[in-house]
């Protein structure tokens, strides 16, 4: 696991090269300045020590040109380093085209890594050499930080948010994976390994091991198992918007504001990306699909982050498909059916039993669900 040079960690990614170069350039500046100052101090302290004969006539109290020079020159050097560093940063932050997606969930105190092809692993990450990978990261609990010294990259892993970092491994080998953000008692054991393999070996590795299908396939079964199809099924758009074709496109939403009835709020559009899908599942009251009632229950304690990633992969897989006949019911599920299938009935579905089955006329007099507090009553709007 070493680079062959003492105290220098291996350089094993496309990103590591420019970072390493910048590091040594700044080192050079730092060393020149620090040693320079020390030499000058020692020289002056010896030359002008008390009792030593030296020319002490007319000591200057100030010298504006010199002071401006030692303000200006360091400033120029600093600005130069800033631009260099900014280019490196943006270079690392830019995801190369055709990057393979990998999904990573941090959890006290382990890493779960999913490949879209279905293979998943704990505290280990396998990557093919020379092929860019885009890592999508989130956390189940507290803030973690994904750190691979050999790749020279850190990325904070934040609960409730997705963060992204791309990396292109350039050297076959096994490297450290650390959690760098303090995350509780066993923080220091939240480590693992990154194994960079030849592409052929990687393909072989990817196809072995047990999988339950691709992430999208697993997502589809979760979609059915949790009753999502009850409202979002391919042919039902009465209670909830269809999900076919939305991923990656702008969707109209209403963003609730405290004290303002929902039907008075202007619709706006947001991009239906990973974040939108995630928040719609976990915090459905945050953005409400325009024209629909805020009846989506939250799944925040029912689904793990990894499962949400799988559901997202499924919704993503629908993005280019016309609505297929995928065997989901043609009619929305009734609350009873929903309960039988999922074992629970969301609070905000309970009031549905007071309305008609297709939800066309509901005079909603019950207070809005807890999650949507502040949202005024929304007179059964239909599409």
């Amino acid at each position: 696991m070493d680079s062959g040079v003492p105290f220098i960690p291996p350089v094993a990614s496309r990103e590591a090269g420019p970072i390493e170069l910048l590091f040594w350039v700044i080192n050079l500046v730092a060393i020149v300045f620090s040693i320079g100052i020390v030499i000058v101090i020692v020289y002056l302290a010896v030359k002008y020590r008390r009792g030593n004969r030296a020319d002490r006539s007319n000591p200057p109290e100030y010298n504006i040109p010199i002071e401006l020079a030692w303000t200006g020159i360091p400033l120029l050097i600093a600005i130069g380093l800033f631009f260099w560093s900014a280019f490196v940063f943006l270079y690392v932050r830019r995801t190369p085209a055709g990057a393979a997606e990998i999904y990573i969930v941090g959890k006290q105190w382990m890493w779960k890594i999913q490949h879209p092809e279905g293979r998943w692993e704990m505290n280990e990450l396998h990557l093919p050499v020379g092929k860019p990978a885009l890592l999508t990261l989130t956390s189940e609990d507290v803030i973690h930080d994904f750190f691979v010294p050999a790749f020279r990259i850190h990325q904070d892993v934040i609960p409730g948010e997705y963060s992204y970092i791309s990396v292109t491994p350039t050297r076959v080998g096994t490297y450290h994976l650390f959690c760098a953000q303090f995350c509780g008692t066993l923080h220091s054991t939240m480590t693992g390994t990154v194994t960079v393999m030849e592409p052929a070996d990687f393909q072989k590795w990817l196809s072995t091991g047990q999988t339950a299908g691709t992430m999208a396939e697993v997502g589809k079964s979760l979609f059915i198992q949790h009753g999502c199809d009850g409202c979002h099924g391919a042919h039902t758009s009465v209670r909830a918007p269809k999900l076919e074709g939305i991923y990656g496109r702008p969707v109209p939403v209403q963003i609730p504001r405290a004290g303002v009835p929902l039907d008075r709020i202007q619709a706006t559009t947001v991009l239906a990306d990973d974040r939108y899908v995630h928040d719609s599942i976990v915090l459905p009251e945050k953005e409400i699909a325009a024209g629909y009632r805020p009846i989506m229950p939250t799944f925040k304690n029912r689904l793990t982050e990894a499962e949400i990633m799988e559901l997202t992969a499924y919704i993503k897989s629908l993005s280019n498909q016309p609505a297929p006949d995928n065997g989901v019911p043609q009619q929305p599920l009734s609350p009873e059916e929903y309960r039988t299938r999922t074992g629970f009935l969301p609070n905000n579905m309970k009031d549905l039993s007071t309305g008609t089955a297709d939800g066309t006329t509901t005079t909603n007099t019950t207070p809005p669900p807890a999650g949507a507090s502040g949202v005024g009553t929304n007179q059964g709007r239909t599409r």
Binding site: H154, P159, G160, E161
Partner: protein
């Protein structure tokens, strides 16, 4: 060479030459407002800024040893990659205690509350701070805060680190977080009150003739610090309050499960804590300016640049907090703005380093203990500052973020900077505070020991960080062991280095040579009064005619020669008196033969 006029000058009887120094009969230590000064009441209800400074001195020293204990456990545990002495749980509590105690209860108050409290009124020629009662209140707030904080951390333990990142601190950590927060909250108010007191004192209570550009740079630095304390600390209070509200009432502010934003907490926290870094270093810079001028016997080079650099640091330090969050989901473009400003904030510090160095040019330099600490400060602060560039640069922060590189960087600033400067100031003003000199040779030994121990402790940590060892790891990969062992070895030298001054300064309280009013022949107003000073500092308000650093090496030589003559004369007289005493004996023995 005096900065005060003949009317204001204490008469020569009161200020004997160094050769014949004696303690004044009445001073702030042995009498308080004309009454006996040794009672508990006279100390605990004192309104004298000097006595309050001594109260702070005792309390921050205790806190320093408590924080140091945490550091000791941490360093010992890191001797082995598997954790040498404690479980990870205990380790986490120890580094959290080390961080909380050192930052909030030691580094923030240490120089302002001890040296600032004692010397700012004296440097201004004032009798006291503007609000003596507020000053005492701020000490009580500090002590209560410290007691609450210690109780929380010792009785139950807090394992969030001093940064209290959410949602770890709100949803996943032990209950003592809330109590610790209360402690820090109180100490924060103490800090605000001290800052407020300083600002008003510096504005309103300068002696006649003491214009802004005749102020010692120590006062300028404290003015900048006070601005930071007053403007930034309330944000810490709000942050901690929000944190407590989320913990207790489960209102979603920072916890994403409740609809909050964990990164918001980091923004708020660092909006205080980055300026706080300058609260923790600017006072040190003030001390260095005083000491370098005194021991080089010449004015600080480029006084105005140094003075305005302090103010510039205070202003720009408010605009760089985002550099702690380059690796969060903060927009990369926001990160670049913060990165740029972080490079800019390096410039005023660089100006100061260059100006101190230039002050040595054509000086007449004596390497006494305070000066050794200051030269150490300049070297270590330069290394700490230069490695700040690695972390201000978004490109290299990608690799160095949250590793031991960061630990080494800020310890070079905080310990190599502020603590070194504090020791410099403490030695420099010790004769003024206590009336007695510390043993010079022991002082120099400790300064050199500390410098060596410090570098051995923290330099290996730069390499460790670059190699990829993350911070806050009780258990680590075996290849990091060699450097960790080196670092622990250095820490043991460092510990010895800190114990030495503690011991000999204590010893000097009774046994030190009597200092006289101005053992360094320094020019500040604080030296123009007996040591220890009387309760109201000056018999007559001094009138200032010239700048703060009117050193004159030729006059020094003359004064030295006069001192030597005086000492020789005294010795001669004493010997003659002794001889006269023994004269009859000698006659007897002579007649006996």
């Amino acid at each position: 060479m005096s900065t005060i006029t003949p009317e204001g000058a204490p008469d020569q009887e009161q200020i004997p030459l160094n050769g014949r120094a004696h303690m004044p009969a009445d001073h702030y230590l042995n009498s308080y407002q004309g009454r006996e000064g040794h009672t508990w009441k006279s100390w605990l209800f004192t309104l004298d800024h000097k006595r309050i400074a001594i109260l702070y001195l005792v309390s921050v020293t205790l806190m320093f040893f408590l924080g140091g204990f945490g550091a000791m456990i941490v360093r010992l545990n890191l001797l082995s990659p598997h954790g040498a002495i404690v479980e990870p749980q205990t380790y986490n509590r120890m580094f959290s205690m080390h961080g909380v105690v050192m930052v909030f209860f030691f580094l923030v108050p240490v120089i302002p509350a001890v040296l600032g409290n004692f010397f700012i009124p004296m440097m201004l020629g004032a009798k006291d701070l503007a609000f003596p009662v507020v000053n005492l209140l701020s000490w009580y707030l500090y002590v209560i805060g410290a007691l609450v904080g210690i109780t929380a951390m010792v009785a139950g333990g807090v394992d969030t680190g001093w940064t209290f990142y959410t949602p770890l601190s709100t949803q996943y950590a032990y209950d003592n977080v809330s109590l610790t927060i209360v402690g820090i909250f109180l100490a924060g108010f103490s800090s605000i009150l001290t800052g407020l007191n300083f600002i008003i004192t510096i504005h309103k209570m300068r002696a006649p003739g003491l214009t802004w550009f005749r102020l010692p740079l120590f006062v300028w630095a404290h003015y900048a610090v006070s601005l930071l304390q007053v403007l930034a600390t309330p944000v810490l209070a709000i942050t901690l309050l929000s944190l407590a509200v989320e913990r207790i009432a489960h209102i979603g502010i920072f916890d994403p499960r409740l609809g909050g934003d964990p990164v918001l907490m980091q923004h708020m926290f660092w909006f205080y804590s980055h300026p706080a870094v300058y609260i923790m270093i600017l006072p040190g810079m003030g001390v260095v300016s005083e000491v370098v001028a005194c021991f080089a016997r010449r004015p600080v080079f480029g006084y105005k640049f140094v003075a305005f650099a302090s103010i510039a640091l205070a202003v720009i330090s408010f605009l760089v907090w985002g550099h702690h969050m380059f690796m969060t989901t903060q927009s990369p473009y926001a990160s670049l703005v913060f990165s740029f400003l972080s490079f800019v904030v390096a410039i005023p510090s660089a100006i100061k380093v260059f100006n101190w160095t230039a002050t040595l040019y054509k000086g007449s330099i004596r390497l006494d203990t305070p000066m050794l600490y200051c030269l150490g400060f300049i070297g270590l602060f330069t290394i700490g500052g230069m490695t700040g560039l690695h972390l201000a640069a978004t490109g290299t922060d990608l690799h160095l973020h949250d590793t031991y590189f960061v630990i080494a960087h800020f310890h070079y600033i905080m310990v190599g900077g502020q603590v070194m400067a504090y020791l410099a100031g403490l030695h420099y003003w010790w004769p003024k505070m206590t009336g007695r000199l510390y043993p010079e040779n022991w002082g120099r030994t400790a300064a050199i020991l500390l410098f060596a121990g410090f570098n051995l402790t923290f330099f290996p940590q730069f390499i460790l960080g670059y190699e990829g060892m993350p911070r806050r790891y009780p258990v680590y990969a075996p290849e990091f062991q060699v450097l960790n062992v080196l670092s622990t070895a250095g820490a043991s030298i460092l510990a010895l280095g800190y114990l030495l001054p503690f011991v000999y300064l204590f010893w000097s309280l009774k046994n030190g040579r009597i200092a006289g009013p101005n053992p360094w022949r320094a020019t500040g107003l604080e030296w123009q009064t007996p040591s220890p000073p009387p309760t109201f500092n000056f018999d007559r308000t001094p009138i200032v005619k010239i700048g703060p650093y009117a050193y004159n090496p030729e006059a020094d030589e003359l004064a030295d020669a006069r001192d030597d003559m005086e000492r020789a004369r005294l010795e001669y007289e004493e010997t003659r008196a002794r001889l006269a005493e023994h004269e009859p004996e000698r006659e007897e023995t002579a007649s006996g033969v």
